[in-house]
Symmetry: C2
Subunit: 270 residues, 2 copies
Amino acid sequence: MASTASTRWDPRKADTIPTMPTAGADDAPPGDTALAIALRELEELIVGQAEAGDQLPAEAALAESIGVSRLTIREALKVLAGQGLIELSRGRRPTVRQPDSTVMSRFLSVAIRRDSRSVLELLSIRRSLEVLSASEAAKHAGRAALAAMDAALDQMQRAADALDGTDESVARYNTADVAFHEALAMASGNRMLSLLLESLASSLHHSFTQSFAGFMAAGGDIDDAVREHRRIFELVAKGDALGAERAMKRHLERTARDLQSHLSRTAPPA
Amino acid sequence: MASTASTRWDPRKADTIPTMPTAGADDAPPGDTALAIALRELEELIVGQAEAGDQLPAEAALAESIGVSRLTIREALKVLAGQGLIELSRGRRPTVRQPDSTVMSRFLSVAIRRDSRSVLELLSIRRSLEVLSASEAAKHAGRAALAAMDAALDQMQRAADALDGTDESVARYNTADVAFHEALAMASGNRMLSLLLESLASSLHHSFTQSFAGFMAAGGDIDDAVREHRRIFELVAKGDALGAERAMKRHLERTARDLQSHLSRTAPPA
DNA sequence: GAGGCCAAGTTATCAGATACTTTCAGTTGC
DNA sequence: GCAACTGAAAGTATCTGATAACTTGGCCTC
């Protein structure tokens, strides 16, 4: 049995309804489309009641309960999937997603593709947020978070020792580098900050590898780089927020220089 | 005439195609669905060729040229609309959108709704970025940007003089406040930073008004607040990046205290 | 008890049809 | 000449009905 909306609203035959704004339904804004209704109801369901990982009712059931056709439900689900609220896959019911970095990541990547100047802008933003990350980590880091940072450092050292110029060894080092910064962000206890930094890292990935290339080309000592990271770790572990901030700032300024030198070397100014 | 894909692929009768991964088509990944194809093609069209404001071909034409049904095109368009790449409205063709703050805004708002602790995290992020904004503005601000900041300050002063406790007068002051920070972000020349700060401002709007309430309740002098803003402006105009940073930092720390005091007053700790 | 097979549930996709909106050009009225 | 009305054309919104492919869980075999 249909719960509240037993009769489905069919706009094809409803030439009278649009002219009567407040007819019948209690919560239907005047110029409301079926899609808007579906979106509203579904969003209420998703962010209002469901937990991440929950499964929504099947399309047919949703159509029945909300009172629009299955097609409209599908389109609403597609919009919400685009916004990253749910995940859709064939044969399985829609699942509620934990908010993660993919939405923002994608947004930033598109922005970069549209205008490559965004890269420098985002790098500047990242620097600022990494400094915040170091500062808050020094204030709040717990035992587990510090252990994670330490583990990332170990891996970084191993990857540095094994560097032999192959793409694979470089990739391994970069992975450890990213893992360190990720652990640091986690240590800050600021989950939104983690999310943002993760988005930035993934959309700026290309630039990171380039700045590493610049570092190597400039004859940089990889052990120095590892030491920089370890220094940050120590200051964070000691709870020295100001020191950690400064160390991170220096570290990133060096990285930025490496990228610049790589860019000016490979692509001479027009 | 259909250009390349003259025969439409109908998965209902295509029980052989999925078993033959690399059959025929050059650019069709193995387990590719019609929706994925449509998304890929449309994205290429949108971020690859079109400018913001351009109109895409009609659904029917897209269906024809991409070689999927109109339904699939519609669903792909809905996904892209959810990602903020295009805008859809009845009777009009899909239009390409300029990347703006709404996507991120919405993401942040949902995150806040899911877990209200995110508010404090985002406020901390905002502080960090506002400081960056002040610093970069001091370095790069042009004449026009400075004029915009000055205008916002004037409006703030007028709104402050007219403050009489009514919601409307408070709203007017807050609007001017937001306009000042927006002008500052513009002055920084970092468009991505502007976007991010705008998103943060709109999803934290509620907190802003609360921190203002805290300011007033604590017997704050509104003219002091305006002076703080003017001081930031002067340092930016002078090109004193470090000074502007510090002034902004102080300003926001005061604001954070106001919010705290308001929260502890209205909602005693559990 | 492990592995494979079948059935039910669910999504993906096509086709055809109708109602509502927007846009633009042509016409009318001043 | 120009402004306002009118209508057709283009286009999106939505519903209905049907089929194919995928996922999952239970049953059956060995």
